[in-house]
């Protein structure tokens, strides 16, 4: 056995990977899609959302943070795991204020796309309708916490890609929210609309102004193809 390759299985399919990868990275490399929300390639994994939960030797773990290992048995595409993922997506829908019919990112929203892929016809848990704050102080961008799923992508992108540290988390549990690193809202930060942190939001929480509704219905990223197809159609080179 080579020290530079580990071999394991995902849903019975043999996968080979470099030993320094996570399960999610190794799966991506061979064209196996593990549903995910807070994970984004090029950012360190956050491990917040738990949508990428898989079972390793029967135990649930985060695929985005769990390293590959020789001989592990990974379960991913099972009804049990999809049902847990559906529950997470459903809770995110009812905890936020997501009005899809009037939202400018409908059709390219990853939360919505996950719901479609997992065939969640509608959330059935009671909606919270919590009051959330909007920050429209910046001339070019706005932050609508009604649509935030607390994935922390903007927090990580601002720190690691933009080297700016514009966003953070404040409070805990149900009161947790995205904070802005200034005394007077987004306008008092050094954020620009071209920052990487502006392009990583999976929903319509962090949006560039005056760019909405530009793609017609039918041509938006998830109108015809499920989220994850871009990974599944990748050439497998194992």
């Amino acid at each position: 056995m080579s020290m530079n390759v580990v071999t394991f299985t995902i849903d019975g399919v043999e996968v080979k990977s470099a030993p320094d990868k996570t399960i999610l990275q190794a799966a991506d490399d061979v064209g196996i899609y593990i549903p995910r929300l807070c994970y984004l390639k090029d950012l360190p994994p956050g491990g917040h959302c738990r949508v990428c939960t898989v079972k390793v030797n029967g135990r649930p773990v985060n695929a985005c943070t769990y390293p590959v290992a020789e001989g592990i048995v990974v379960e991913n595409n099972t009804e049990e795991l999809h049902s847990l993922r559906r529950n997470i997506i459903e809770m995110l829908f009812v905890e936020g204020n997501h009005f899809c019919p009037s939202c400018e990112v409908a059709g390219k929203c990853e939360l919505q796309a996950l719901a479609y892929r997992l065939a969640l016809l509608t959330p059935q848990m009671p909606y919270l309708y919590a009051q959330k704050e909007l920050d429209a102080t910046h001339p070019d961008v706005y932050l609508d916490r009604n649509r935030c799923v607390l994935c922390g992508r903007c927090v990580r992108a601002s720190i690691y890609l933009d080297k700016k540290n514009v966003f953070g988390f404040e409070n805990r549990g149900i009161s947790m929210r995205i904070s802005v690193n200034s005394n007077d809202g987004l306008k008092d930060t050094n954020l620009t609309k071209d920052d990487k942190s502006m392009s990583v939001c999976p929903t319509g929480c962090l949006v560039v102004k005056r760019q909405g509704f530009t793609i017609p219905v039918g041509k938006r990223p998830y109108d015809k193809k499920p989220i994850g197809s871009e990974i599944e159609t990748k050439t497998v080179n194992s």
Binding site: P101, S102, A119, L121, T122, Q124, Y127, Y129, N146, D223
Partner: protein, 182 residues
């Protein structure tokens, strides 16, 4: 054998889902062959005259009349299908759920920028007007709903495929492209 009976209702929404039902084009001729319509805004039958096999519900529940008729539908229909964002989630009308009802009414009838001075001071409360509920509720929070068809509106294909599957007693499997929240 008599035809299966279908009834439809519209609550708080825009009637777009009923428009989408009519958008099945020439299949409407097949529909007339397949089913008999009872209480529905399409034929303007006001009251149930017989037991209904499939009830189709559009819109969220925002007032006492909505709630009463929805409960009546549950009582008369063997299968209840909620269609469209408003019936499933409250939809756009439920945006008012983020503001207390009193504030909504005061903004609309007392303090809003378009309120003319001679009309100030009157929040409508005639007994003939349905009383608004504190929030707009999805249908499944008021009665048991058997099937959900998402979309704003669901496409004619979504509604047609679902209806045909239910009439044939087949499982309701929607293709990826037919599951949409907008």
């Amino acid at each position: 054998m008599s035809k299966p009976v279908v009834a439809t209702a519209h609550f708080t929404g825009c009637f777009g889902c009923h428009m989408s039902i009519l958008d099945i084009d020439e299949r409407i001729l097949d529909l007339v062959e397949l089913v008999e319509f009872n209480k529905s805004p399409i034929n303007d039958i006001k009251n149930f005259t017989k037991p209904v096999d499939i009830g189709i519900i559009e819109g969220g529940i925002s007032n006492d009349e909505n709630a009463e008729i929805l409960m009546e539908f549950r009582k008369h229909c063997k299968i209840l299908v909620a269609i469209g964002a408003c019936a499933l989630t409250g939809g756009v009308p439920s945006m008012r759920n983020l503001v207390p009802l009193k504030e909504c009414l005061e903004e609309a009838y007392l303090n809003g920028p378009t309120v003319k001075s001679e009309n100030t001071g009157i929040i409508p409360n005639d007994p003939d007007i349905p009383v608004l509920l504190d929030k707009v509720y999805p249908c499944h929070e008021v009665v048991k709903i058997d099937y959900f068809l998402p979309g704003c509106p669901p496409t004619a294909d979504t509604i047609w495929n679902a209806l045909v599957a239910l009439l044939k007693g087949e499982p309701l499997n929607l293709d990826y492209e037919l599951i949409k929240y907008d």
